[in-house]
């Protein structure tokens, strides 16, 4: 944001007392654009504003006028309300009412008032500029007698700016330049003796340089009211640090005690099982397998069966599957096996397994219901007519067996099964099942009226 020393020199050359007195605004603009490009304009403008705020830094009226002109010139191509320094113009045209006693009331941030001629020029500039204006020199403008001339109306600009400003938060409008003039009331060096208030060009140049150039130049800064922002206290925790307790345990590797003692039966069984996953076993093999399982309850955990392999076993050797599942009933994995069984493709074998399981042990009723709805939906969705008929018959027989054996309560599945029977009423077994349902229904007075009316 700050200017480089070279840029500052260029700016000051444009704004020098000589140049501003002799050259026309047009040529001032030309030399300014010679030094600065559009990208520089904002920082140059900010510097110009700071110079304007300090009476001693642009002491001569022509300089001041030229500086104001440059603020305009930089953004001439844009609408005037879009000029970032438009507020400066409004500020200059409507200076804060200064108190008479300057000592008590001294606005360091205000731009000193300008003469009527300058006012006239500025208001014309921002409302309706003419070409002749730019041909004049600042000196000519200052010497103009404007007492008879009418001021230009700038209220449009003021309104636009006021509107734009109202959209900005108050905080962004609260800043103040941080450079405060503090004239020495007493001479600070021998040179100054007897010359109070006299401009010293060297000191002036130095001051301008230190204000406008360098790292963190004051021109970049401003001052605004600031909150005291308290950092929060450190979090208070009762038990945060890591306390260390010795571990009184020795976790070491273990010896495999089953080395060379694994039974021949175990090995044989395993071999049989891996066969059983792939194809039907002979009756003899099946018997051998079941015998071994019979002998050792825990052997079932050693035969290499997992839930994922269950469907293969069911399809190939349903009898073995039933036996194995019965032995796994105590295992904590049995629910996994059940869920695999419920979700596997419906078939004669899977149905047989479920049927046998239902008669042998008490299965969770959700499991049976899930299986039944699975069967029913399989029947309904199957495309092959022949296969469908076959499956429907199977399901009907299965359901009849379940109902006759009182494994399921008809009430729980009544509606679903009834709908199923009606849908497949063309099949004899379905009609039979329907009749069975009806007979149970009439025997049970508590049934739903809708079912009774059918």
């Amino acid at each position: 944001m700050a200017l480089s020393v070279k840029e500052l020199a260029s700016l000051l050359s444009v704004l020098s007392e000589d140049t501003t007195q002799t050259q026309s605004f047009e040529s001032l603009a030309t030399s300014f654009h010679h030094y600065f490009t559009k990208q520089d304009h904002f920082k140059v403008g900010s510097s110009i504003v700071l110079l304007l705020q300090n009476r001693d830094l642009l002491p001569h009226p022509t300089q001041k006028l030229a500086a104001i002109f440059l603020l305009y010139e930089m953004y001439r191509t844009d609408p005037i309300a879009a000029n970032p320094f438009a507020t400066v113009f409004v500020h200059i045209l409507n200076p804060p009412t200064e108190n008479q006693e300057a000592g008590q009331f001294d606005l360091h941030w205000a731009i000193p008032a300008i003469s009527p001629a300058e006012r006239y020029f500025l208001s014309q500039l921002i409302s309706s500029p003419t070409k002749e204006m730019f041909k004049k020199t600042p000196t000519q403008i200052i010497q103009l007698d404007v007492s008879s001339m009418q001021n230009f109306d700038v209220s449009g600009l003021q309104l636009a700016l006021a509107e734009r400003q109202s959209e900005m938060p108050a905080q962004s409008k609260s800043a103040m330049p941080c450079v405060v003039p503090d004239r020495d009331t007493k001479p600070s060096s021998f040179d100054h003796f007897g010359k109070p208030g006299v401009i010293n060009p060297d000191v002036q140049r130095q001051t301008i340089e230190s204000l406008l150039t360098g790292n963190k130049a004051p021109v970049e800064n401003c001052m605004m009211p600031e909150f005291i922002r308290l950092a929060p206290p450190l979090h208070i925790a009762e038990d945060e640090l890591c306390w260390m307790n010795p571990v009184d345990m020795d976790y070491s590797v273990a010896w495999d005690t089953t080395m060379c003692v694994s039974s021949s039966a175990g090995v044989e069984i395993r071999r049989l099982m891996s066969k059983a996953f792939k194809g039907a076993l002979t009756l003899q093999q099946q018997q051998q397998l079941l015998d071994e399982l019979e002998k050792d309850n825990k052997l079932v955990y050693h035969i290499g069966l997992t839930p994922a392999k269950l469907p293969d076993l069911v399809e190939n050797n349903p009898l073995v599957a039933i036996e194995v599942l019965l032995r796994l009933m105590q295992s904590n994995q049995i629910t996994e096996y059940f869920s695999v069984l419920v979700n596997m493709e419906m078939s004669l074998h899977s149905m047989e397994v479920v049927n046998r399981l239902t008669t042998a042990v008490e299965l969770p009723s959700e499991f049976i219901h899930l299986y039944i709805s699975n069967c029913i939906s399989t029947c309904e969705t199957i495309r092959d007519r022949y296969l469908q008929n076959r499956l429907v018959r199977l399901v009907c027989v299965f359901l009849q067996s379940l109902i006759r054996n009182k494994i399921i309560d008809v009430k729980d599945i009544f509606i679903e099964v009834q709908a199923f029977c009606i849908e497949f009423s063309r099949i004899r077994e379905a009609a039979g099942l329907f009749r069975l349902l009806k007979s149970l229904d009439s025997a049970d007075p508590q049934n739903t009226p809708t079912a009774a009316t059918r």
């Binding site: 938060p169 905080q171 600031e226 890591c242 070491s252 003692v261 039974s263 090995v267 050792d296 309850n297």
Partner: protein, 727 residues
Amino acid sequence: MADNKAKNDSDAEMETSMPLPQVTESQKELASQAMSEFDKKQYGSCCSLMHKLIAQRPTDPKVAHNKAVAEFFQSGFLTTDEFRQQLSKVCQMAHVNIDNSESLEDVDHSVIYFNQAVILYHLRQYKAALNILDKLFQYIEPLGSSIVGTYRLSFRYTVESSVRDRKYVDSNNEFQEEALAKKATMLLVELYLCTYQPEKAMGMVHYAEKTVFTAGKNAGEKENKEDQVDEAWKPKISLYKTRCLLMMKSMKSCKREIKSLMSTQAMNTAVIYLKSNFEHLRGNHKKAMKMLGSVSTSDFTEAGECMPVMYNNNLGCIHFHLSKHHLGAFHFRKAFQENENAIKDIKRGAEHNKNLSGKTLNSIGMSRHFELLYNMGIQLLHCGKAMPAFDCLVEAVQVFRSNPRLWLRLAECCIMANRQNNDEDRKLEKRLEVIQGSDGSGIHRKLRLGPGLKKDNPSPGTPAIPAATHEFAALCLKNALHLLPEDPLTAEKVPIEDSDTVKITPEMVLVPAPPGNPLKAAEVASLRCSILAASAYVALCLNDYTLALLHAENLLKQPKLTGAQRYLGHLYMAEAQVAMDKIADAIQLLNPELVVDISLTLPENKTEQDKSERDPEASESKGYFYPWSPKDLTRAKAIAQYNLATAHAIRGEYDKAGQNLGESSSRIGTPLPAQMYFLKLYLDLIEGRRNMAQVVIKDHFGHVTPNRVEMKMNSKPGVPRPDTAVS
């Protein structure tokens, strides 16, 4: 030998799926001999037996496995790398994918998995070990519980010859199978504890107590023997229970458990440390310290842990809670050194071995480096040393990244690094920033007022690279918030009917905070408040006012706020509102009369403390926190009033601003914060009271200006204004 070779060939053929060759009687004999040597801890002879056996059965994975085990024992557990290699070879032979615990299908392979889990445990890969054991447990569980009397049958059936031999194998095997189940259960509990899941650990202990360790009672003929075993396990179970209870912080049950432990094995180091831990948690720090001192600190425990590290670390913890932060830091540093030394010793020992991990299995995971860094970091933070604390914690967080509180601590380090404490504003160097200096001389003399204390220097680079900046703090706090369970305030809105159940469930959840104990619901709530307060603060520092407002609103909605947090919430909210041009709201919030409480703890805690105040020892427990200012209500009110003045000033209400500023400056305490001088100068200058400003400047910053103002003198008549002078 020719015979063997033929067998080898056939073995190779069968290896794909065919079973192994039949076990011959001589092999069986060898195997049982090897096992008995192993049990007798004669690993040398065991190894040589295993060599013989493997020559006969080169494809038997179990033989290969046991050979590896025997050699590992023989080496004194120094050859961990080799053992792991052997283990993976065994896995290949047995067609087992050890990295995938899902592949565990056969209980026959359980020993392999168990050993893998043991190694992982010592390598401190707890999660991986836990995965294996969780799965393994499903298979082992039925074996452990009621195996007696059933498994025996299979052996009786299979081992037909040599009755005497069979009997040995038989009974021993059952015992061993069960021993494996027990070992696995123990390791599982340990792993649950290592991964800070005390409830699961406790569940497992209870379960094991009922099944695995009382197995013998079902078996009639072995009752005596089994009961003895059970008795032998009892103290260990009790130790586990105590550790679970300590971790869950259920002090009442813990007290009972410890009492029984102390009555039976009062000389056990582990027990004494647990008791000390218990007293420490209860706030009896002196007692805890005494307990620690009563143990003779031999250097290493059997499990390979370095006692001096633990001793010093725990002393550090105690001193931390006694608010003796520098003493605490001293002990942590000492623990750190001990840890470094211990590692160095081991490494030196390792050099003699060709192996990379020539340390014993137990000592591989011995280093407590990161736990110590964690403790040290928190301790240093409380010493007010933000940067060293940051360096410690930023390393620790790479290991304990699931700890929300640790992320908050990191953010606190960043906050402290940028603002040591709230009295910083009063320091001379801050006050000197009010006026930066002067330029020029004579008529051109200018004062440069400071731009303010706010520093808007965005950190170079990305905030993802850890540095003690507010940007990084914001990231940390985001992590911390994400690690907390969902805010019950926002979650509760959906089910209105069963609000009771909703309220109950979060109570049950423990939030992990490794390496510390998991957080209970109340701790989570208070942590959330602290995180929200810090988040709002950091967002303000980053000029993210929308987010700051959001966090502050969220903070004020929390059901249990400390006085200080409510106060801060109002301040933060007001500042964000001013920035977002809602000054009227902010002015209401900043009413100093609203500040009624700035205590740092919840009122409930206070009453508890008061209660325990009668207990002479309990008074130690309070005030281990870092001092925070404002310390008293008057100053807190004054700060709120100063901010009120600022809000008025921003709105252009300079009279009100001046009045509030004056009132607050008389109560805020001296030296005044730098911001007050700023505001005073601002108000004077903006209204053109240039001379008044000069008086303030000359009085407080006299070094920047030679110009004294006599209030009665008006400068106007004497000195012409520069512009008029020239024109």
